[in-house]
Subunit: 164 residues, 2 copies
Amino acid sequence: MAKRHTISLKAVYGFNALSRISGLFSGRGFSIDSISFGDAEEPETSRVTITTSGDERIIEQITFQLEKLVDVVEVKDLTYVPHVERELALVKVGCSMANRSEIMQIANVFRAKVIDISPESMTLEITGSRDKVDASITMLEPYGLREVARTGTVALPREYQPKD
Amino acid sequence: MAKRHTISLKAVYGFNALSRISGLFSGRGFSIDSISFGDAEEPETSRVTITTSGDERIIEQITFQLEKLVDVVEVKDLTYVPHVERELALVKVGCSMANRSEIMQIANVFRAKVIDISPESMTLEITGSRDKVDASITMLEPYGLREVARTGTVALPREYQPKD
């Protein structure tokens, strides 16, 4: 069964790594849900977090091929280890004086922040798991989504890992 | 002079667009600071936000070539229009009982959230502009950065745009 996987990898700093990684996915027809690319903890290294779906055999194949890429230093599939996952979304939603407080109530429930406002719209900053961000956007949809920009998911393993 | 630019583009959903975009950058030797790739407001579309540096002539060339890519629907350079920008970082930092409260003070100043803790480490979730995230990480560096995962920047234009 296709399960959502979160793959975290470290690469030598520079955009060539991303080009190789995305080329690998598109070339093989592997799907990708989201990708984040930013600085890692050491200088001159980037961390790339990819969420993808597929059955176990395909995911194994993907991680194996990612490991072989030039510039890729480390590949971890975090799916089966305890980890924390977050993403961020900016959502500009249509609103009027009449329904502004409704939208602010939804924002409060999801602990979203209002970061821009105009007579006809509000922009919210939402942070959380992918599910939480999805849920917030679903609640805001009836007001009219004007613009949405989502970062990909980022994830780190929890420090405490159960010994089995 | 090389200035940091934030380019927001919308593409047909699917990973081919990202492969083409990153191929364009690496093929021409254009540098990239960060990239975020996630769902946009309409079904079947993705929004990609890229931060890059270069002089005006190079940026013009980049946006021109991005516009010509298959699967790319819209390209906007947000640098000179009022916009909101955010990114998110997960930072796992070494700590002991002795300096835990120091780290929590830093977290409070930057309104970061502690999302994991162990006897020897803490993981913080930091949200804000790139400068703010950079500043937080610089303050945490002396405690030992164990792992850092940053999303790229995401950005949306402000609704109110001054008429000049």
